[in-house]
Symmetry: C2
Subunit: 425 residues, 2 copies
């Protein structure tokens, strides 16, 4: 049986624009994977009357209602009370949950549980409790009038933890259909050129299907199939993924991998090699993405953020005559930065970035978007010059970071460093 879900986020901070509703996004992506259609997202403030109206609309059109937020200990956290009134369920105190919350406070905050938090141990009578290992508010689920109501905490990390641990297992028992996807990750081809390449092929398909999703500077091509079992869905997907990987060639950097940095990490591990970084306009973004990966210290030695030209000279050892002759933003400096980072850290390879992130041109008149990626290796030093055009500062920084990882990936897989990059990937 196919289910139609509505996701209701409760929280005035969403209506004030303080945060984006990432919970609805994470839930939607996860629900699609277990065959639950999400047809509506709603957001309402910490206001019981308006929440009640939103619930009354949802119960008429959806048979799964998932709320996020409003489970906290404070007076404006009203989700449970309002839902219990709407569905005629009494709230009852769970002594065992109260004890868990008490222990959580003592262990993590080293303080006694505030009195307020007793409210978090009150849950609808007869519900399934979703325990919260990373916060104090438990979630829960119950069925009433043929509708499954799930309440989840608002802090995104708590919500995501509960989603994986409790919500997906709960929903899998409801759904008889499986939807599986594989993501073919590409870098170097814009979304429009890719859609043009694939338009005819995509139009022929129904199940499995293909769709493109553009992240800043990357395109994810998602192949999706529905079937009665995971095996049957996989059998529909495998030949399509194979076909697309062959068709798109070396712009594909992986299938079902989270990002370019993960691919670089794997390639370095396979060789037993280490890497170093030398960053100017990306200001630590390459280092940051590498060090987000647990265990990366096996391949990442470290690097230099050489924001000032003097740091390029004094710490990385870029020769002063190169800086004088070509400037800080140049092919020659990019190469010397990579060589310097490789030398001072002892890494097998080093990648560098120097460029103009804006908002203004540099003092030599290089316009915003001029960026050079350097790569020092045992086989010599390489450079990828880029003209990214006038874009926002953070877009140039992120795009340059991706190009740096792409240069590393191409070198480690034996591909040429440079290729005819689509001007605006």
């Amino acid at each position: 049986m196919s289910h139609n879900a509505e996701i209701i986020a409760v929280g005035s901070e969403l209506l004030m624009g303080s945060v984006a509703n990432t919970n609805a996004q994470d839930l939607s992506a996860a629900l699609a994977a277990v065959g639950v259609n999400v047809y509506w997202h709603s957001v309402v403030g910490d206001n019981p009357a308006r929440l009640r109206e939103v619930l009354d609309i949802a119960r008429k059109r959806a048979d799964i209602i998932i709320t996020t937020g409003g489970l906290g200990p404070t007076y404006d956290d009203l989700t449970k009370q309002t839902i219990c009134e709407a569905f005629g369920k009494p709230l009852v105190l769970h002594e065992d949950i109260l004890e868990t919350i008490r222990v959580f406070f003592e262990r993590n905050a080293h303080i006694k549980m505030p009195e307020n938090n007793i409210r978090q141990a009150e849950l609808p009578e007869g519900c399934t409790v979703f325990d919260n290992p990373v916060g104090t508010a438990p979630g829960c689920a119950f069925e009433a009038d043929g509708i499954h109501v799930l309440m989840l905490p608002g802090p995104p990390f708590e919500m995501r933890t509960m989603l994986q641990r409790h919500v997906l297992p709960y929903l899998r028992t409801l759904s008889g259909e499986v939807i599986l996807s594989h993501d073919i990750m590409t870098f170097g081809l814009g979304e429009s050129p890719m859609e043009e390449l694939l338009r005819d092929r995509m139009a022929q398909m129904a199940n499995p299907s293909l769709a493109t999703y553009a992240k800043p500077s990357e395109v994810r091509l998602r192949a999706t199939a529905k079937a009665e079992s995971a095996e049957a869905a996989e059998a529909l997907l495998a030949p399509l993924v194979e076909e697309m990987v062959a068709f798109l060639g070396d712009v594909v950097y992986g299938v079902d991998v989270p990002g370019l940095e993960d691919v670089c990490f794997d390639l370095l591990k396979q060789r037993g090699w280490t890497i170093a970084t030398a960053e100017s306009c990306t200001g630590g973004r390459i280092a940051e993405r590498l060090t987000a990966l647990p265990g990366v210290s096996s391949v990442y030695r470290g690097g230099v953020v050489s924001y000032w030209t003097s740091v390029k000279a004094d710490v990385l050892g870029v020769p002063q005559d190169i800086l004088d002759a070509h400037g800080a933003v140049s092919k020659e400096t990019a190469r010397a930065m990579a060589e310097g980072a490789r030398r001072i850290t002892g890494a097998d390879v080093a990648v560098s970035v120097t460029g103009v992130a804006g908002p203004d041109p540099d003092e030599r008149g290089n316009p915003v978007g001029v960026v050079y990626i350097g790569l020092a290796t045992p086989d010599g030093t390489f450079c990828r010059p880029l003209e990214l055009g006038k874009r926002r500062r953070d877009r140039i920084q992120d795009l340059s970071t991706n190009h740096a990882f792409d240069v590393v990936r191409r070198y480690l897989t034996g591909l040429p460093i440079n290729f005819k990059i689509n001007q605006r990937p």
Copy 2:
């Protein structure tokens, strides 16, 4: 007159979880600033029947309806058609807009306008046209049955451009009321302790009002007032903000500032000082947050990501006997890292971080969450030791980054570097 708005995002990609609804966030923040209450966000797919139902609900509860998305040239872009049917408005072709779209294609894509795009020049009869300088889909607004309907494009950059250029001026003419907020930014006091401190004071208030918003490791205390004019709202806010800043003391790092790094940037600029960084477990996050700020090169020289112990020794010059005696994660190494970064870059101050981000303890048995912040200055070297407890890797990295900025802020404002966290004021 006070207006109540609903923001309706149209797009199946939102219901698939491919992107977060950042448009609703950006619109909400902007609408709050011009005194329009946003009480609901809705998201619906590219399905005319469900969009029509969502519109019929919205027109009963809101007097401003703003849609994003569904204005593209393809067959599933149905927002205009559906809204015009709902409000009984005919769609008419605007020749001048058609010409603008043709020119946009030739200039930006260097191709002839595809036939499809003619649909983008069809707009509701008698509407106010919002031109789109950064894309092809124009937006528009009309009034019908006492309801203001605004349609905006879905791509976030196009939406934001149109918001500033057209939507805010349009809405300012409608609203007779102004809502103003000030954000009192704090670091070092959790959300629950702060709420407990302020509970009685908050309960007495209606206008102006106070609310807390917890970002990871920070609490924003927002004071909000409604009045007929900005001056009158400001007169309500000023004494409250002053009272709260005095009451909370030095956990307040600023009012209406975006983050700790902005405060550090300003403090350094005021002194004409420069800073450098030496990062181990934060892996470039301090550098990244500094270099996100345009113009930061006037104060930020650069730094070292000394992920390996050998980089701490070879690049930062941390003495080998300190590393041998105390290990890479120690007070002594944090101090020596900061001193090394200050020495090799020539900066006036340097901040360092070394610690265990996890998921595993380090080889000396330091548990996850043990972190040391070092600060080298002309007045000597300081250290803040932290025990952040077992948390997620990225939380420890972000929290340590904030502590590093807080140490810099406290030093530059003449406050003690260390304080008993969570037990202040």
